[in-house]
């Protein structure tokens, strides 16, 4: 052992041994490359992979319609007699006004040609659609707590053009549910996020209780 130690200590320090491995900074560099690659692909590449942009069937102009109807959002997104919420209007409901072409507008033309004449429901993109295991009723929020539509759905009612819609390739739901910012930090981009904890946080804030599981998961 001592002989070996002596041999090593006798070796001149400016003569690198052919057996010597990579230096610390090289190893660190590799770590940083791996770390950086993962971070970059995770934060930048992954969202592009996970979400796909889905074009809107019709670029609907909410602002234009709001000027023409009497009852605000309720005119088209109304409560049915039994208290359930109608959601997006059906073709028949659109036809009430669009039985014939009302103006000169390429979107309305497209609507008339592709849907009204073909008697086909418009496959509207739904930014707020929740999984089937989530029971959500509009009535206690809008009628009971007197919340505005915009509180949850943002200012879409005043928009002239529909904001982009991205669909999660795995779940099929809108990117709006998680939020456009993958970190979920800061203010939401378009409308409040709609994951379960978002519901819970608002409920705690407004009612001091997050409620019971079965209120939403029946």
């Amino acid at each position: 052992m001592s002989t070996q130690t002596d041999n090593t200590s006798n070796t001149p320090s400016n003569d690198p041994s052919p057996k010597k491995g990579a230096t610390g900074w090289v190893i660190l560099a590799f770590f940083i490359i791996g770390f950086g690659f993962s971070l970059l692909s995770g934060w930048v590449g992954f969202p592009k992979l996970l979400y796909k942009e889905v074009p809107h069937p019709i670029d609907f102009n909410h602002a234009l319609h709001m000027d023409l109807v009497y009852d605000g959002c309720d005119s088209c997104h109304y409560f049915r007699k039994d208290g359930s919420f109608s959601g997006s209007p059906t073709l028949d409901e659109c036809r009430d006004c669009h039985g014939f072409v009302m103006g000169i507008n390429e979107n309305e033309e497209k609507f008339a040609e592709e849907y009204v004449l073909e008697d086909k429901e418009v496959p509207w993109n739904n930014y707020a659609k929740q999984p089937d295991c989530v029971y959500f009723s509009h009535a206690p929020h809008v009628k009971g707590a007197e919340m505005d539509c915009a509180t949850c759905h943002g200012d879409i009612g005043e928009s002239e053009s529909l904001r982009p819609y991205q669909e999660n390739r795995l779940t099929g739901y809108s990117r709006d549910i998680w939020g456009w910012n993958m970190s979920r930090l800061g203010e939401p981009e378009y409308a409040p996020r709609m994951k379960m904890m978002d519901c819970v946080n608002c409920h705690v804030e407004q009612t001091d209780s997050k409620g019971n599981c079965f209120q939403c998961h029946k």
Partner: protein, 759 residues
């Protein structure tokens, strides 16, 4: 710069660390969990506007008004309609689960042509044009051969507009063979003809207004007859109401009755006569009715001066002690029952309907009608009501020479022939007639089947199957792939009742002349057609006088014309009551005497004596050989098993108790005493064998059944429909055998001798 293994390890470490600080693992885990909830085969309830639509159920002849809960275009739930006068909110399990037939796999989805053996279920889809051409071609060829009378139609009902179209078709075509499936109506219609002179009127019982219901074996609360009507009637019972059940087995009805009398099976007629004697002897009968509206109560003299025995003298022999000997009841039970019945405010005696078998004992039925006549409840509130069919306003049929000739030929089922001159339909005789006929001389060369499943429901179904297999050409109009449809050469599928229009005639046994209208609540899911439209299409295709007899554009046009003024009310209210009040007694009877005939002078008998005419008690022979250690097999009705033309849907099968059906094995009920004699224990595997067939079953010991009997539920053991319905239990019809009444031909066997042995 040197790169070695540690660099790559470091790179991997960096990748992992970076990965953990990126959203990838957390977001993917979350999304995968949501992805698993959205697999394409996971059923997702429809969302959309909710609506309730009213219509009338036709899954059985009970005619219940229903409301259908819809979400968008999807039927979600069916409930009994509170506003409908028949069922007033009640509904049977078959009605509730009829959605399963709308969406389930038993549907015939388009016209079909058979490609495999009869009963194998191998069919190929064909177009409507092709199928109708084939049917009309075959019928046309038979007609041109002078064999128009060899075409028969088996229908589950002879009332309503669709059976009317079939009758009309056969009339224009030239065949007398419209055959209704056996039911409780057979005996009641005959009894109403003999005692009241009506040849084709409905006999019903106003149970909802009666205060004392004496039921001779009717499964009022066992799902037979018009279950919705009976359930709703019972649900409104209070202390003032009494239900007495005479039955050898503790059925649901017996369990819910105020009194259950386990008379020996087949002796109910003797009990009715014994009750009549006590009522007459104590002067408890309705004097006004007997003196002014009845004939043959007392002894009478005919035009030739011969003295005939009256009903009163005949029943005087049925003393309580003698009847007690026949029935196995106690004499004082019979006396007190007779007094309670006759003294009740609105008593009614019922029989024949609602039994799972159409056992038609004319004497028993006449005796029960006589009990109602004695208390004077005929055409009264809470009594026995006789009313005509709804009137249809259609032009007469155009008949050519072939049709006129064909209609004069005797019927294939021998009804109305010299042997059975007063019977209308005798489907129970047809299998034996077909089996004994030569192939070349077969009395049925082509058969149309609508609203019926005779291959399954006919007793001795093995013989029925062999007989039907001999028929060269069978057309089924069934919506579902039932046993008879599997025997058909062509299937022309009807809509499910939620998809089409149909009038619903007054349900059998219900004392209310209510006609309902079944309306479509969803558009047809498959390439099916209303049977009314199909038969009009076939007639049109055949041309000539047949086509001329069907001038309508379709079934709906025909329905509107046939129902005329009623149609508007029907489509607005969903039902219409045909006559406001039952006929008054001085015009109610169409007999020669113009009165209710206790002595049925018109009765066709083999002998001539008064005993043959009067409804005295005659012991019915039970088919099969009497052996030591044998049992008598009876079938029973369960409210959880549909035993008619439509099979039990899976929802109902789920409700069957484990001591009735376990996996695929059916239980046979026997008394522990019988089990002791046969050396059987609860749950034993056993084999039951009769002259008609044998089956392996499990044993269920039941104190509620009379010793010596063995009971099996009717309605299981299907072989067709779908894999969710077929193969559960045993078809009791395959073990039973009909016995023809010597003068009326209808089946009068209430049971069959059987051997029950440990397997």
């Amino acid at each position: 710069m040197k790169i070695d293994r540690r660099c790559f390890l470091s790179l991997a470490g960096g990748l992992v660390a970076g990965h953990l600080l990126s959203p990838v693992p957390w977001k993917v885990t979350d999304d995968l969990s949501i992805w698993t909830q959205n697999w394409p085969w996971t059923p997702v309830p429809e969302t959309g506007p909710v609506a309730w639509k009213e219509t009338v159920c036709t899954m059985c002849p009970g005619g219940c008004g229903i409301k259908v809960r819809m979400i968008k275009d999807r039927v979600i739930k069916i409930e009994g309609s509170e506003d409908y006068p028949i069922n007033r909110g009640s509904l049977c399990p078959l009605g509730y689960s009829s959605i399963q037939y709308l969406y389930g796999p038993s549907r015939v989805t388009s016209p079909m042509k058979r490609t495999g053996e009869r009963g194998s279920g191998k069919f190929e889809p064909v177009s409507w044009d092709e199928a109708i051409s084939e049917v009309s071609g075959k019928l046309d060829a038979l007609r041109k051969n002078g064999q128009s009378h060899t075409v028969a139609c088996i229908s589950g009902s002879d009332k309503g507009t669709v059976p009317l179209l079939f009758k009309r078709f056969l009339e224009a075509y030239g065949s007398p063979n419209f055959i209704r499936t056996p039911s409780g109506q057979d005996a009641h219609e005959t009894a109403a003809y003999l005692a009241q002179g009506h040849s084709d009127k409905n006999v019903g019982f106003d149970l909802e207004n009666a205060t004392f219901i004496l039921s001779f074996g009717c499964g009022l609360l066992d799902g037979g007859g018009a279950p919705g009507y009976q359930f709703s009637t019972y649900s409104r019972f209070d202390r003032r109401h009494t239900l007495v059940q005479v039955e050898p087995r503790l059925s649901n009805t017996a369990a819910k009755a105020k009194k259950w009398l386990a008379a020996k099976p087949g002796t109910e007629g003797a009990l009715a006569l014994g009750l009549a004697r006590v009522i007459i002897e104590n002067g408890l009968y309705n004097r006004n009715f007997i003196e002014n509206h009845s004939f043959g109560f007392e002894d009478w003299t005919d035009d030739n001066g011969a003295i005939h025995m009256g009903f009163k003298r005949m029943v005087s022999e049925y003393t309580p002690s003698r009847v007690a000997g026949i029935t196995g009841l106690e004499a004082r039970q019979i006396e007190s029952l007779a007094r309670d019945f006759a003294r009740a405010q609105k008593p009614v005696a019922v029989c024949g309907y609602n039994e799972c078998r159409a056992v038609a004992d004319i004497d028993k039925t006449l005796a029960v009608h006589a009990l109602n006549a004695l208390v004077g409840n005929i055409n009264q509130s809470g009594g026995m009501i006789v009313f005509p069919d709804p009137e249809y306003t259609v032009s007469p049929v155009e008949k050519d020479r072939i049709a006129s000739t064909g209609l004069t030929k005797p019927r294939a089922d021998m009804a109305g022939t010299d042997k059975y001159p007063q019977s209308r339909y005798l489907l129970n005789l047809l299998p034996d007639i077909l089996m004994s006929a030569k192939e070349s001389d077969l009395p049925v060369q082509a058969l149309l089947v609508t609203g019926a499943n005779p291959v399954y429901t006919l007793e001795d179904s093995t013989t029925a199957q062999a007989a039907f297999a001999k028929i060269p050409f069978i057309v089924s109009f069934s919506s579902f792939m039932d046993e008879t449809a599997q025997y058909a050469d062509i299937i022309l599928p009807d809509h499910h009742f939620l998809e089409g229009y149909r009038d619903v005639p007054p349900p059998e046994g219900v004392g209310k002349p209510i006609t309902g209208l079944s309306k479509p609540v969803v558009s047809p899911r498959y390439d099916t057609r209303n049977t009314g439209d199909t038969i009009i299409d076939i007639a049109r295709k055949m041309g000539g006088s047949i086509s001329n007899s069907f001038p309508w554009d379709g079934y709906e046009a025909f329905l509107k014309e046939a129902l005329k003024d009623q149609y508007r009310d029907l489509s607005r209210n969903g039902y219409v009551e045909n006559v406001e009040k039952p006929a008054a007694l001085d015009v109610a009877f169409a007999t020669d005497s113009g009165k209710y005939e206790f002595y049925p002078t018109r009765r066709h008998t083999t002998g001539n004596g008064d005993e043959a005419k009067l409804p005295g008690f005659k012991e019915t022979d039970v088919p099969g050989k009497e052996t030591s250690g044998g049992v008598i097999l009876i079938a029973y009705k369960s409210p959880r098993i549909a035993s008619g033309a439509v099979a039990n849907p899976p929802f109902m099968t789920k409700t069957i108790d484990a001591d009735m059906l376990k996996k695929e094995k059916l239980f046979i009920q026997i008394n522990p005493e019988t089990a002791g004699k046969l050396n059987l224990k609860q749950g034993d595997e056993a084999v039951i064998e009769t002259s008609a067939g044998k089956a392996s079953v499990k044993v269920d010991l039941y104190d509620g059944i009379m010793p010596g009997l063995a009971a099996m539920p009717a309605g299981l053991g299907h072989t067709a429909y779908s894999r969710y319905i077929a193969g559960k239990g045993v078809n009791v019809n395959a073990l039973l055998q009909p016995v023809a009444d010597p003068t009326y031909g209808i089946n009068k066997a209430w049971g069959i001798r059987a051997q029950l042995k440990k397997a």
